[in-house]
Symmetry: C2
Subunit: 331 residues, 2 copies
Amino acid sequence: MLNLDARHQPLVSLLTEQLEQVAIIFERQLASDMSAVNNLCMHVEQYRGKMLRPSLVLLSGMAAAGDVGDGATLTEKHRIVAAVVEMIHMATLVHDDVLDESQVRRRGATVNHLWGNETAVMLGDYLISNSFHLCSTVGDPSINLALGAVTNTLCEGELVQLHHRNNYSIDRDMYMEIVGRKTASLIGECCRLGGFVSGASDEACAALSRFGSGLGVAFQIQDDLLDLVGDPAVLGKPLGQDLEKGKLTLPVIDHLAQASALERGETLNIVMRGDAASLRARLVESGAVARTIDSALELVAQAKTELPRLPDGPARDLLAAMADNVVSRDR
Amino acid sequence: MLNLDARHQPLVSLLTEQLEQVAIIFERQLASDMSAVNNLCMHVEQYRGKMLRPSLVLLSGMAAAGDVGDGATLTEKHRIVAAVVEMIHMATLVHDDVLDESQVRRRGATVNHLWGNETAVMLGDYLISNSFHLCSTVGDPSINLALGAVTNTLCEGELVQLHHRNNYSIDRDMYMEIVGRKTASLIGECCRLGGFVSGASDEACAALSRFGSGLGVAFQIQDDLLDLVGDPAVLGKPLGQDLEKGKLTLPVIDHLAQASALERGETLNIVMRGDAASLRARLVESGAVARTIDSALELVAQAKTELPRLPDGPARDLLAAMADNVVSRDR
């Protein structure tokens, strides 16, 4: 986690230790008596990045419980739920790479590229199945029910997005609907569940859910923006994948909505030709990129207004700092 | 269900009614507020075949409870679990079709053929997610845990099978390991869970589990055999798909194990050429097909020895008749 004020450092260190325990739960859950399966899982574990989702579970749990910053309010239940949401996320990455025919992820080869789409499909299924199995070990059916509802929503978002591939008249509302489902639903639930496991009130849980959802939408907007105007060396994967796959994202949608009929025609031509460099120039010049950044910043500012409903403390402060980081991140 | 003695008819009628209620639970669970998702689910519902797995849940539940044949021992819990296992099965069908690049399933076009692999991957995920969500509505974490463990095992079986594609030295033990995981684990659990929901003793549940596992292995052996020597018009799909995909099945493995060095070389040549007609002739002539049928019959006979551990009654009788049908079926 970059760009964090030095005052967050003690809590970041504690969080790092906790995340190592989460990673152990994650690996233990996936261990199989079949070596062919273990080899694949070891590869997937290299995909692990910032661990945003488990971090949100742990920090939300601490914030809701008024943790003084020593992690005394965290339990094994928090860490299991944190491992579960990371496993769900990993499953979506593995299947997304099949959907996108991606060859590279986090500077390494994708499962589909190394072992074929068939293995990537089944490995993703293995991760989904294990996430539910791990979740069931907590023994609280309401957590299973909540995460099942979220993964339903997440899949709906992906299916609707696929349905709109090469649909060049998709509007901002539909974009938000898709992003809300495929990304924000899980991130919102990470925050809510952290609070829930800490025994927070319904009001605090709802505030955490809204905080996470807003953050999730901003996160996806930033992700989509980076695919257009990011630095491929920093991102660790090639740009322009959304364009290639006929996925219109917010800067393009915003530009098309504001453009004159003539400009609109020219931009659609560029989009259909898949000319990423021309599209990038057009979106920067027309101000669509700047307006998209403003949208993300506004969502983060709005999300942060939920935090005062939680007890004051270092975990709440770090949640706010992480929210700011989501939009300023370059990868 | 064909080839059943007339005395089973009253229970078959009752089961048909119960399965209609299971189908309603299934459809209600998948209903989405996004029309693009509903259209896909309506297509998948046409895949529904004999509903073997939900039938086993319901009949095992009745048999374990000593039902007199009027279904008075069946509860909504049984029907929900029955819908859950059918949904898990449907998910595996949708993803199997992606793995096998199949264009046809039950005489209809596959999801991947109509809408592409991407949509088929996500729709399978939607089905898996919904199966766990529906399972969580029962509110018994032990059922979630058991089904999560089974789907883990099922995915492992598929992954190990993929790992052994084009491995021409795979032996009977590895074949049984794969089949035990990818098919028998779920069918065994269907029977066990039926008994569990009826409150059966651990001994009765274990007997049902063994009955279902044996039946499941026999079922898969028969399925693999039909891909080699079945009638494509009856099966509703082309033959020889396993051969095409480099999957060695029991008749081939058995033939190779018994053949002379010369015959072995000739058969491997035929396998690598993908010459289904020559392979079929060889397997019939060498007696490998007959020996495979014997293996399946023996497994069914063994499975049926578990049934006397359950109370005598019409459901137990129908389970035995269904077991016989698994091996005699031609589709």
